[in-house]
């Protein structure tokens, strides 16, 4: 076999691999969107219909009947609040760990990072019991607080490296310019780590938006339930309205995908550490 042939085969296998992965990722998305535009019988047609007359009935039903819009609104509030709180707490913490040396700094950093290894379901019952005692079940504040367990470590982990990549000389120059420590943090360092901030916000936001487990247990009420749990609420009774489930899922997923596409370049830059020069 000539090297050219070997090369061609290699490239073919590479392309084939990419296609397989893409299909695995995109087909469920396609099936969800397609299903949301079908009727129930159409959805279950065997063999599947690749062309059909699309209908928005499922969306009308979802929005009108089940308060999907309200759930989306709840999700938006919980997500934005959780991300904002996580950044307000996590970013200064990361700055402290990056710039100050104090006893236990490594241990604190390690503790933050290892929080991510926590299996969510392990702490679910203690959280439920605590929230119940405090009469905080069905209170969005509970979700916002619980999400911090995952958001703050994520923010700290990402932002410590970001702050470390800002040259110390810049902060020293600012010191000589008469800025105090907080001004240096706010006006010199923070503007230089905006890619990292964006990545932290988006990843935390996706986590909070997507959470099903805690939302399902801690805020099950109709008034306060979040978007991921709403589709789940149809799964009772004798018939499951699959087009409606698909339409709801599409509405829940859309913001994440649109947001992801909008800032994916930023994310790539933020994840390549040392992006700040």
């Amino acid at each position: 076999m000539s090297p050219q042939t070997a090369d061609a085969i290699k490239r073919f296998l590479h392309a084939a691999g990419i296609v397989v992965v893409l299909v695995m990722i995109l087909f469920p998305l396609y099936w969800m969107v397609a299903g949301s535009l079908k009727t129930q019988p159409e959805l279950f047609a065997i063999p599947p219909h690749w062309t059909w007359a699309p209908t928005l009935d499922a969306y009308r039903e979802a929005i009108a009947d089940s308060g999907v819009l309200r759930a989306l609104g709840n999700s938006l509030i919980v997500t934005l609040s959780a991300v904002a709180l996580g950044l307000v707490v996590g970013v200064p913490a990361a700055y402290g760990i990056a710039r100050y040396s104090f006893r236990g700094r490594r241990e604190i950093w390690f503790w933050y990072v290892t929080n991510w290894m926590l299996v969510p379901v392990v702490v679910l019952i203690p959280f439920y019991l605590t929230a119940a005692r405090l009469h905080m079940i069905n209170n969005p504040l509970t979700l916002i607080a619980v999400y911090q367990i995952f958001i703050i470590p994520l923010v700290v982990w990402l932002m410590v490296d970001q702050f470390r990549s800002v040259p110390v000389a810049l902060e020293e120059a600012a010191q000589l310019d008469g800025l105090n420590r907080f001004q240096i943090f706010l006006r010199i360092s923070l503007p230089l780590v905006t890619p990292g901030l964006a990545v932290s916000a988006v990843l935390s936001g996706i986590f909070a938006w997507n959470d099903l487990l805690y939302a399902f247990i801690l805020t099950p009420g109709d008034e306060v339930r979040t978007a991921p749990t709403i589709a789940l609420s149809y799964l009772g009774g004798y018939t499951i309205p699959w087009p409606k489930v698909m339409a709801t899922s599409t509405l829940v997923t859309a913001p994440v995908i649109i947001g992801g596409i909008a800032i994916h370049k930023y994310v790539a830059r933020g994840l390549t550490m040392g992006a700040v020069k």
Binding site: P167, A169, L170, E172, A173, A174, Q175, L176, D177, G178, L179, Q183, I188, P191, L192, V276, K277
Partner: protein
């Protein structure tokens, strides 16, 4: 008015002492250069004056005020960093004026100072650019501009030219000297480049391992180094050192035997020396004689050339003595010698230095007469 008094400053990182009991004064308006090999403590000393490092012991007095425990901004000093440390997210104009804005200087005054500094440094056309759109030399000017507008009593420079290419470095060197003349401020400048030190300083502080080796005017250090380290550090190419044996000690000086047998009497005082002992003889490359003049010297040694560098205006001959010690001879003009040739090199006793076992320079019996 901003004279600086460094009073018994010591600094240690854990068990590692980087500054040992440093004491000296800088006069108002003086251009003083800290020079030394890397790790000698010169940057730490500068940062201690700036207030970016805390000393463990000692006092720093600037303009008559004890600023030892003051934050950097209150000390009336401005610093130019090796990396320039320009704020990447601000324009040149914002970089220069940011400190003034933070300190709530009147906007009209800020504008006036910005204009003056920009004109002086010829960066008026760059004011709207971001640092990343500037060349190294331009960034350097902006960094200097940022320090000028604060009108500090003291300018601190931390190896500001080390990131520039050779040509630009020479140009900026001249500009900094001109700037110093124009402003008349006290300037403290750190470099590892002894040529920068020699060309810019009113006085040089030579540091090694956190200790002051010698303080003096550039030519004073060149002519009268107090020890072997300073002798070797100041001057380019550096001073030659030969290990020699003491033959006799008399009122006329110390007689030593050069490689290959010739003896010369170096006119220095050696009260503690005894014949048979070893000392080091130092002689600068430019004080060795080559060609027809060599015969007129007090002694001659044979040197085998290993490399002849012809620079046009001068020639550097690198060679080895009969004892295998490396030697460099510098001759103005051109020289016919070539690689592997053995040439006679003349040594003038009055231009030699002797260093004792501790590296101290032995005092000359009379002032050395350097060729004009």
């Amino acid at each position: 008015m901003a004279e600086i008094r460094i009073d018994q400053i010591s600094k240690a990182y854990g068990a590692h002492t980087v500054l040992h009991d440093i004491t000296f004064d800088v006069e108002d308006g003086e251009f003083i250069v800290f020079v030394g090999p890397s790790g000698c403590g010169k940057t730490t000393l500068l940062r201690t004056i700036a207030g970016l490092e805390k000393s463990n012991l000692g006092r720093i007095v600037i303009g008559g005020k004890d600023v030892t425990h003051w934050p950097p901004a209150r000390r009336g000093v401005a610093m130019v960093f090796q990396s320039y440390a320009l704020y990447p997210h601000m324009t040149v104009a914002q970089n220069i004026t940011y400190g003034l804005k933070v300190n709530k200087v009147d906007p009209a005054e800020i504008e006036a100072r910005l204009k003056a500094a920009a004109t002086m440094l010829q960066i008026t056309q760059l004011l709207d650019r971001k640092p990343k759109e500037l060349s190294g030399g331009q960034r350097q000017r902006v960094a200097i501009g940022r320090s000028i507008v604060r009108q500090p009593g003291v300018f601190l420079f931390d190896e500001p030219l080390s990131n520039l290419d050779a040509e630009l470095r020479v140009q900026m060197r001249a500009e900094l000297v001109a700037l110093h003349r124009r402003l008349g401020s006290t300037m403290v400048y750190v470099t590892h480049d002894q040529i920068e030190a020699m060309t810019m300083a009113n006085r040089i502080v030579v540091l090694r391992d956190g200790r002051i080796e010698q303080i003096g005017a550039p030519l004073d250090l060149y002519h009268n180094p107090q020890n072997r380290f300073v002798a070797g550090f100041i001057g380019s190419p550096k001073m030659n050192f030969l290990s020699v044996t003491i033959q006799a000690v008399s009122d006329a000086g110390v007689m030593v035997e050069l490689p290959g047998g010739p003896k010369i009497t170096v006119p220095v005082a050696g009260p503690d020396l005894v014949p048979g002992g070893k000392v080091e003889l130092g002689i600068r490359p430019e004080h060795l004689l080559l060609g027809p003049g060599a015969g007129a010297a007090d002694a001659q040694i044979s040197v085998t050339a290993t490399l002849v560098e012809r620079l046009g205006g001068e020639t550097l001959l690198h060679g080895t003595t009969r004892h295998g010690e490396a030697l460099v001879v510098r001759k103005s003009g051109e020289l016919a010698a070539h690689h592997d040739e053995t040439v006679p090199v003349g040594v003038v006793a009055g231009l030699c230095y002797l260093f004792d076992a501790d590296g101290r320079s032995l005092d000359p019996l009379r002032p050395r007469e350097f060729p004009q």
